[in-house]
Symmetry: C2
Subunit: 358 residues, 2 copies
């Protein structure tokens, strides 16, 4: 099918439509989704400047290539969502010190290190709308600079001096790596269950969100009930973040997504939309998924057909629905905390993550 | 040159001859080189069993592929030289506790993680006579399981609970990564100086040897003079270890080396033998090195010709001579410590590293 591009565009229109439906009835103004983060940005602006200064200072190395490559990925326009969670959580816990700044930088370093290694593992060429480090410099420096940033994260947490913090970050890093390997094992396996998919995203994404929030309670020496509540906030937020991310890989447009739409399909990465469509599909449809995602025999029109099947079975709409479920739990996790600017900012983050379209 | 194999074999004979020359007059019996480690093995045997038990326990993961892949590289017959240095250094410092066991395991985890990433970066297929993990499972799991082992190392050091230890290990990991990136930058660059080469091997290899020895003094709470002496032992031992390793890549035979002889030449990795031969060579010879190692245009007879040039300029013999210089400094670093079994064992390690042929 040589003119395969047209149905894809048409289908993307339909699919994007189903995303927009999620936001009906909320009186959203244009740009309203980004406004959900406005409270957060206002709350942590000053601290975030300090975090960025720490990041710039600590990614320096006498080895020029390290500073260049680390600078490329760190400055390539990430949302800094994870470090902002640490900053806001600490504020909500009434913390008045400065430890949260270094720890937020530490969280961002761990995140950045995993991004570098992810892009190598996935052979990605585009991230946040820019060429990936591995596309510019090749895989080798990306692997090694990832190691460097991991080490820098640990140096930062050693500087903090709390064994509890170190324990959290070291365990989280091990879980992230386990999650990435689990993802590799479910890759190209269309029989992956929703439970297995949830295990993967909990480990590879939600564990770091959880620790980012938890650290806010830890630096403020809050009681374990509040620490657990912040862990629950982060965990649920992380799961919903990845659910939306994976749905957007089918529903989003490359120009707003900052990466190539359809990457997961082309790589045979099994995410919830496919898990649902596969289980809900006919035997013929399952053969299609197996050929395209398991055996890797993809034709030009396949992505368009995949989008049709996802639409037919409501797989994207239901992925967003699942995300809302975790959003509800994240909101309830905040119930313990007194109303105030920080709590409203964190509730805004939940809304943002549920509703984002890029 | 279709019958290019013959001169290579002949030249390897010559070159191996130059290695054997280093050991003249020492009354070596067959197998004598390995005997150099006998004292060490006897000294730490019991502790090393505990280290291996910790390694086996801590490399476990609910993710099967991680346990499999980590088990493959950890059990593939490494000498455990670095953890044994920690054990022997602690013993020489009169340490009677158990912290050195976990820390030795930690050193081995960091080493193993870097091996996994090295093999990916170098596209190696053979290590210690076995297929590399990346050759068996591909690059992706090797990158991620390396990350997992790094994290496990940090978990182990957090369990130890000493911020000084954590600081040493986190900084060392950052230096290792810097060394690997520096090596990448000098790769294929025949203008690399001996100083730049030394910087690379100091960072990528000697820094971990240094920390392995230093930890022995740290757990025993010895005064800084002894800690510095053990750092010097490790640093010089590490430099000489890598010098010999790089020379053996030309001088060694694949069957005893456990990896492919000539790998560095084929990959265009610039090590001391080439640095020396390039500087001592004619313009015509330099053109050869540039074509073969910089431009990567290698012909079947090139490795044989490279060996001829190394022999002509005494580049391998002088690499081993340089190694002996660091060996002398390593021995003198031990001067502070009282005579005894541990000191003799560590002196034996220096001899072993200078004289090893695999």
């Amino acid at each position: 099918m040589l003119d395969g591009a047209a149905p894809v565009v048409k289908l993307r229109g339909l699919v994007v439509g189903s995303v927009v439906r999620l936001e009906q009835g909320k009186g959203k103004k244009p740009g309203g989704r980004d406004n959900r983060l406005e409270l957060l940005h206002g709350l942590v602006a000053e601290d975030l400047r300090d975090v960025n200064a720490v990041i710039l200072e600590r990614m320096k190395s006498p080895v020029v290539l390290i500073s260049e490559l680390a600078g490329h990925i760190i400055s390539s326009g990430g949302k800094r969502l994870r470090p902002m969670l640490t900053l806001a959580s600490a504020k909500m816990c009434g913390y008045a010190g400065r430890r949260h700044v270094n720890l937020a930088a530490c969280i961002e370093f761990i995140h950045t290190a995993t991004l570098l290694h992810d892009d190598v593992v996935d052979d990605s060429e585009l991230r946040r709308g820019s060429a990936t480090a591995n596309a510019v410099w090749g895989n080798k420096p990306s692997v090694l600079v990832g190691d460097f940033l991991f080490s820098r994260a640990f140096q930062l947490s050693v500087d903090d001096g709390s064994l509890k913090v170190l324990d959290i970050l070291a365990s989280t890093s091990a879980i992230l790596a386990e999650g990435e390997v689990m993802q590799l094992m479910t890759s190209n396996d269309t029989s992956t269950s929703e439970a297995a998919y949830l295990d993967v995203i909990t480990a590879k994404t939600a564990a770091l969100f959880r620790s980012a929030c938890q650290l806010g309670a830890v630096v403020a020496s809050r009681p374990s009930s509040e620490e657990e509540a912040l862990k629950a906030l982060g965990l649920n937020l992380g799961i919903l973040y990845q659910l939306v991310d994976d749905a957007l890989d089918y529903a989003g447009r490359s120009d707003t997504l900052g990466k190539n739409s359809g990457d997961d399909f082309r790589e045979g990465k099994i995410t919830l939309p496919v898990v649902l469509a596969y289980r809900r599909g006919s035997e013929e449809e399952r053969s299609f998924w197996r050929r395209a995602m398991e055996e890797g025999e993809q034709r030009e029109e396949d992505f368009g057909h995949a989008l049709e099947l996802l639409e037919k079975h409501g797989a994207l709409a239901d992925s967003f629905e699942r995300a809302r479920h975790y959003g509800a739990m994240a909101r309830d996790a905040l119930g313990l905390f007194p109303d105030g600017e920080a709590k409203r900012a964190l509730l805004g983050v939940v809304d943002f993550c549920v509703e984002r379209d890029k």
